[in-house]
Symmetry: C2
Subunit: 244 residues, 2 copies
């Protein structure tokens, strides 16, 4: 199912263009944010301070995009007074942009841990976990954005399911790192840098899930924020209430 299906009922061609534009800007911002996460992870794993500094300084571009998209949404709300699925699209964008900006913040926090680790010497453990969970949430962000681009609720549901797996992987990584910390307390400080970075990655997964939930809201008109996976699956399976 593609965007045009939902928005084909517009009388105003200009309004269609505005909606397409703001959605395109969201996806562009998403692409940048996804890159920031990947660069932050590689800066940590490769102990590359320069790359980490770049991630931190580029965060202001993401902040600017957030403000610009938010203004676009407000302008559409004020001038076009959208209803039904158009209103949902604008609201879903204005909420997703907050999550994207927060993912950008988490990338910045991971980069900060990377800088500290590059200074203090590497951690004896945890890089495998950073790489693994980092990859996992990186794909989640990309899939959540793809789901938004195509209004693909099955893909959105898959992202929500992945978030549960990430939470489990995170819990297990933290437990094993804590065990190791107790065995080798000299490395506590570096291990904590890794733990903070892992926690940031887990948050990235949460935000990807939030965006996926907006896709389901947009298509189905149902707020699934506090649904469990079973309830969310049932919602995705029920016939759509088009143009409501």
């Amino acid at each position: 199912m593609i965007d045009k299906d939902v928005h084909s009922h517009h009388i105003s061609q200009q309004f269609n263009v505005e909606l397409d534009d703001v959605k395109t800007h969201l996806l562009e911002m998403g692409g940048l944010v996804e890159q920031q996460v990947r660069k932050a992870i590689s800066s940590l794993v490769d102990a590359d301070s320069d790359k980490a500094e770049k991630v931190r300084s580029d965060d202001s571009d993401i902040n600017d995009m957030e403000v610009a998209i938010d203004e676009e949404c407000m302008r559409i709300l004020a001038r076009r007074q959208p209803a039904a699925s158009d209103l949902r699209l604008v609201i879903a964008i204005s909420k997703s942009v907050i999550d994207l900006e927060r993912i950008g913040d988490e990338a910045g926090k991971i980069a900060l841990q990377a800088i500290q680790l590059a200074e203090s010497g590497e951690s004896p453990r945890g890089y495998k976990e950073i790489r693994h969970i980092g990859n996992h949430v990186g794909f989640m962000v990309r899939d959540a954005l793809d789901a938004f681009a195509r209004l693909d609720i099955d893909m959105a549901l898959a992202v929500a399911k992945e978030d549960k797996l990430v939470d489990e992987e995170y819990g297990s990584a933290v437990r094993s790192l804590i065990t190791y910390m107790m065995e080798d307390p000299r490395s506590i400080s570096q291990m904590l840098n890794v733990l903070w970075a892992l926690r940031s990655l887990e948050r990235v997964g949460d935000h990807a899930r939030n965006i996926a939930e907006q896709v389901i809201y947009l298509v189905k008109g149902t707020n699934v924020r506090h649904f469990g996976i079973t309830q969310m699956t049932a919602e995705v399976m029920t016939p759509e209430k088009r143009g409501q």
Copy 2:
């Protein structure tokens, strides 16, 4: 400056009632969230698992309130098609409600640390810091909500300033706890429970600041999300653009 000043231009009395209602619901939710944070802190400090379990189970009430207020906002947007300061009010509420819900989540996470600490035995350090930073962010949440209730931008600015202090207090608490952990590695696991709880408190401060920023946006029409304190102060000092 009170709410009526901004919203006195309505023709529809019923619309005024709807706006007042949704704002009241936000503030009620805020009151509950503030309580959850305070209870979570005292459950941790007093090693009171029952209280901590109650905080966790009561989180669903907060989630329900989030969904209900969000629906109210969407209904107003769809039916009333608000403009100018009314539109800003609805958008500010629909964003603040997300922050309140996340504060509720952080209270739940603190309660989880409380439960783990009650099981594993108390941490040798960190309670003073939890109490101190917990009090600080508790007041910030209350002040952010008061600022929203009264549309008081000076108070909102004060909350943003407090957030900077909390970040400093948090950084210093983390550093001293890490030093202690290295000296006494047997208590790593409990110290980490305290560190996670402190991190949650620091997040609560961030969310209170976000709500304060919405108050400035609401009154001044300016998005101050990525302003530093100096720039934000300048914005608050400039004359208001009423009813824009």
